[in-house]
Symmetry: D2
Subunit: 458 residues, 4 copies
């Protein structure tokens, strides 16, 4: 036992296993070594390590990282309770007593906070790059489908005609907000905890500004006790993953719906579908279902850490060890889902003309008709009522909108003119849209152009 | 690809990795083999397997189980997408084409439900046995502490004197309810899904009653589509784990409080404590903190599966694959926490006399004093007011309850008599309790006796 | 302030408003009065109330209940911090000092637990009756639709033909499990807390067995401290509501899907749909969407109370006041959703023949074909492969299953016979099902019969 | 029914009650009127309203707001399904047919999004001002307690001496992060949805830039379908409330602990405590308990809306109506808790000297002693071991740190000098701290100064 000098008995075996975090936090090895190198450099600058000691420590740490990256990692290290103890033990083996000096003026508490913050910053960048990939794929698909007509839904009822490009642009917006949320997480984690020690700083003349510079943190944390008690950056991270997954779950739901026999709007590639053991004709959108299902996992992780943090008195409590599983698994899950969704969108086949004839005959232009009445000076509520009657009239006669004649229309409202019949035709529907943010193909193309530039710039 | 005969392309590599559940569901290997043996026996009884085929299949399956339990498991099987495919592939290697007949009249959907239900029943029994262990440990400690006085708290304020035995008996009740909840889970999972096939049963003359008997299920499920869509038993299981963990978190919180310098009521054994890397004098209740922290994990798992199930249309959807991680990890976590809590209670040292003198002088007998006034015929609200004034009187004079004289009491209420001074002494406090369920030592001993019998009987 | 005799200052105004629970717990008025009547009767039996006092108290309490049920409730009572204080204050006004004796040997802690347990038992019965109503409605619909063909889905892909009756029977099973979960909640709440007092029982000779009998509890609680700390029955209740809501969310999802233009399988009644302010042709399944959306609310309530309970030391803590909002709102929400779903199912119109022709030509009989090969002695895996090739063959030729000729079949597998062509026809598909729990119309009718008897019996 | 012109039957009565949101969204009345005024002004600018019509509408809306703020609100309006319908109906009563023109080019979907975003911006500012109040109160208390010694805890074990000021500065940091999170929510909600209409913009020449300017939004939303489907700003809001509540729950926990007989560090004011009905001596920290308990409620709300959003296909679905209860109740709860916590901190009495003597004799300076050895050149791990032995030595002799003599020290490590005995004294402990962010009183005062300036500046 590394630090239990005063204890008479060793930890119970089950308790040791129970409290071990090595299999989880081993992925912090690069960050632990990065943080230790910075700490050692600072200790040597303020005279608490000799040049020789620093060289030994730095050399040892780098060797350990190489061992880990290669295949030379001594297997017995896996039995240590956490990655930090394992590295420390290995450093002793490699360089002897000098290793004992590395922990000068440092506690597990600020050491772990440093690892976590370094990791978080990297993780956010990795996620952002996957978010951009998905955006690029959506954008390419949008580019090909500015004229692919489909019903826009509210309440999953066909409401008004839109284009597939317009639909995908909605997800571009969501992903942009998702990216932005991770920018905030980076800011939230961009403070140097080193020098906070266990909870109250140190009587040693540690230079926190120096480690901050070496580790490229924006600033140093301002209160040592807060520093070792704080996991806000992880909660922010989990929130960002959760909302991101929620958006993917919505897109996944649509992939599933559009792949049904009933919708028949897209066909997923064989590379992203599976067969059935008992029903040979099936082609199942398993990947989309898994993405939709995994949102639960990430929500659960948010709830897990939130619960764990509830009501904890300051400062560090061992409960906080439970922070890593939810965060690491949310990262893995969200990254995987982004990657799979990207592949699924990139390889799916769109049934371009699926909705054209159906929309042509549908009532989905009712709003446009009401708007046209408004332009004639009819009050909107009245226009709405008139169009409602036209729909009812057509339904009763078993007719579609495009079947109606001018005299049919005039039965309901005498002010209709020949030119209004154009409004019942689908071809020009999107082009009539005037507002920014609408599916007007020209506006959609402008937006695609804008997105293209933004994404390339980054 | 085992079942994708009609497909042109293989699953994308990332998608394969993404959708694989092998590392998780490999722990269902024994249940999968148990279920397959039952299914094969039934197939042979109804003539769809020859005796030879059945013997081959049964022999093969048993060999696979041995390989798994020993060290002969062929490593390449780990790359299959799930445990079922791996077993099936291995069976082919071992016995050839007869393996192909095992899947007759069976789908992954009813196969998985069978594994899960068999597993759940076993898991509940395992948990119950750990719950009983903790109960036995609490009971032993209670037995030693029927006269160990301590303050009973409400609002974490000292309210009335109780005994440690009485305190632990409260947890006996909670654990009993926790056990009962798992009894309900067993009932909920005790139905045979085999023969439900993919979602609609089979045109083959499968004998579901026979597999039910072999697998010792209480009954068979009544609707095939419900059978393959249902994960209620898992939600019930997660709820039972969650409430169980919540109770442990309360006990853990008390272990932590009682171990503080401020409370100083118990001392945890070195085997269940750890030291600090920077503060050599520390003895930290890490195990209790971890138990308290891990309640978040189990809550999160409940939320995860609940979210996943939300709004899924019937019947089986791949989202359901996400059911196993929360369930298995909740099981592991709850089992570990039960075991560790048991060890911690069994080895802790109680500072028996810690509260005796403090309670002797405290106001914690105020309620008894009010009750005595009631027995004299004073209305309770009035008695309450009188005692409130006595407390205020004593506080102002800086005195304790036991310092008060009869004339002091009479200043407030003239009806007090000499004998009432006894009520201000702590020694007889518990013995004066009259109601069942109170900390009266005689009643507590009776309860301990009753528990002892109940726990031994099982 | 009723009980703060020793305090110098009143509660801060904002703090008073903050801590008030009156608007929430006023709905416990009947239970509070029921509990108080039982307590008073017991006090009079053991001689702590005179007959006169008891009569006054009982008369006063009954008058208060009448005032509440009528319109005579004095408005100033609404400013009390909780329903218990309001009743107590009103009782003083009505009968004077005798009111002060009602609180003899009772604490808010056991009083509240009594109210909650009495309420829970009633609430469960009310829910059960609404669950039965929905079951009856589903059953009636099932009765009319034993021959209404529809695709059974897995992964939302058409898998095998089933009937709408069979589909609804799946929900009968879910609802039956849901009812059972509330039976467990009744058991969990069926213990008498009275006599537990604040946390440690009483020195007064309270007769807990008597109040148990009067209040018709199954038994009395066994440990006073557990009694006032326990909210397990509420967590069990919330779990039962959550799973129940989850099932409704699945059915709601299907109502929404089936109402789309794409599915066009059902039409919801105008009484359960709404129009759009901008799109006159819309008919939106708002009620189904609200039910689906409200599952979040109930999940949230479970999480709320679970979080609140985490890590609370014994015994009563004021945190527990937060138990009522989640429970009451979950009750209201689940009851409403059951009722609305019942009305929606009862009034919807089914497009009976919607899927007949589509299924006739589809590949959804592929499994049956494979099974038939098995009956000819082909190994299942081989049969599966053969049928997969037939599907591919038909797709390439742009043909449906029912278009295939015997020679087509023989191209793939020579063992096919003339009679096998029958297997490609939809008409007999359901009747060929042999297993219990399958959609075979005869078996389905038997099940309907069984349900009919069960539901009538209750 | 306002918009159901085409429907034959009215909504079922239970369904109407079920789907009504009036009691909840009535608090959006000011935002609805603000949004309508902007929309009307824009309509008049683009010629779709005459000056007269606009004057009538604007006059009518302002009158309605006055009626609402005063007591002239017509009660029958409360029966409308939502605030928007109620306002619209009232406007008809007041100004007749011109009211019908207000809905021109607007849908409930963009109308509601506008209300919600306007509300969110205001709510965030209100919260920030309460956060600042709490910060100011903490700062004032910190100012008075820069020299109030207390143990700093890790694992709730005394670790190192700190000051109460330092402890409160930790919460200053948390609150600052909490404020920042709401700044992000403001950014997230600061886009104009008007002109997005139902889901696809409009064929009318609506000027979205103009309404943006009038409503002082930073920009306009870029995709109409995303606009009406998006509730990210509400999820961000709930996350911010949740983390904020979590921090308050930690502080509340400490208030509760510090108020115990065991800690006896603070005494809460009577204005923020309550008595007990059965135990007259009790003084309960109810407000702190309620704050701690209410964190569950806010977590639950986050989970509720997250669940509701899961897997919803685009665009608007009625499920989204469930967004308001969690958001409004989280706002109310968090505001209340901030306010109550502020009052509780402002009025509590600190037992300044409570820990002085205990700390003087404790081992809490062990770290400093180890650091001093490091400054002598001893490797830290070795120093740690030495100090561990000293602790063990003292414990065995039943001595405190301050009792140890130089020769005692030398028994363990010969390098100790006379001057090192100073290190065992508590008086100078804080002043020896050297690192930024430590409890060194001079550094703490600097930080208080900095905070004072920051808070005044805002």
């Amino acid at each position: 036992m590394l630090w239990g000098g005063r204890f008479r008995k060793n930890l119970d075996k089950a308790a040791l296993r129970f409290s071990t975090s090595f299999p989880i936090d081993i992925r912090l090895l690069p960050e632990d070594i990065e943080g230790s190198l910075a700490h050692a450099e600072m200790l040597s600058k303020i005279g608490l390590l000799s040049q020789k000691e620093f060289d030994d420590i730095a050399g040892g740490l780098k060797k350990i990282e190489k061992e880990w990256n290669g295949s030379a990692w001594p297997k017995d290290l896996d039995s240590y309770e956490d990655v930090h103890s394992a590295i420390e033990a290995r450093l002793y083996e490699l360089i002897g007593d000098a290793a004992g000096k590395l922990h000068t003026g440092r506690s597990r508490n600020d050491q772990i906070a440093t690892c976590e913050r370094l990791w978080t910053k990297k993780a956010c960048l990795q996620i952002k790059s996957l978010q951009v990939s998905l955006q690029k794929t959506l954008l390419s698909s949008a580019e090909r489908h500015t004229e692919t007509l489909m019903p826009g839904y509210t309440h999953l009822q066909r409401a008004q005609p839109i284009s597939l490009a317009f639909h995908f642009l909605a997800y571009m917006e969501m992903l942009e907000r998702d990216k932005n949320r991770f920018v905030h997480v980076i800011e939230a984690s961009d403070s140097n905890p080193l020098g906070s020690a266990a909870l109250a700083g140190s009587t040693l003349p540690l230079d926190r500004e120096l480690t901050r510079q070496i580790l490229r943190f924006e600033k140093s944390t301002a209160n040592a006790m807060d520093t070792v008690s704080d996991r806000d950056y992880f909660l922010d991270f989990l929130h960002a993953c959760g909302v991101g997954m929620m958006h993917l779950s919505r897109l996944a739901e649509e992939m599933i719906l559009w792949s049904t026999s009933e919708w028949n709007f897209i066909q997923l590639s064989d590379e992203y579908s599976t067969g059935s053991s008992l029903m040979p004709q099936k082609k199942n959108p398993d990947m989309a279902e898994l993405i939709r299902g995994k949102v639960g996992r990430v929500y659960g992780h948010y709830m897990a850490l939130s619960t764990t943090m509830k009501g904890l008195p300051l400062s560090y409590n061992r409960d906080l060890q439970e922070d890593k599983i939810p965060v690491f698994d949310s990262f893995d899950t969200y990254c995987d889902c982004l990657e799979i969704m990207t592949g699924m969108i990139a390889t799916m086949r769109v049934n371009d003309r699926r909705f054209e004839s159906e929309l042509a005959g549908s009532f989905s232009l009712a709003t446009d008709l009401a708007d046209a009445l408004v332009m004639k000076g009819v009050a909107f509520r009245e226009a709405h009522r008139i169009v409602g009657q036209i729909v009812q009239f057509a339904e009763e006669k078993g007719q579609k909108f495009s079947d109606l004649s001018l005299s049919d229309l005039k039965t309901i409202y005498s002010g209709f003119a020949e030119s209004d019949l154009e409004l019942l035709k689908i071809e020009q529907a999107l082009k009539r849209k005037k507002t920014t943010g609408s599916p007007n193909p020209d506006l959609v193309k402008q937006q695609i152009e804008r997105w293209r530039k933004t994404l390339t710039a980054k």
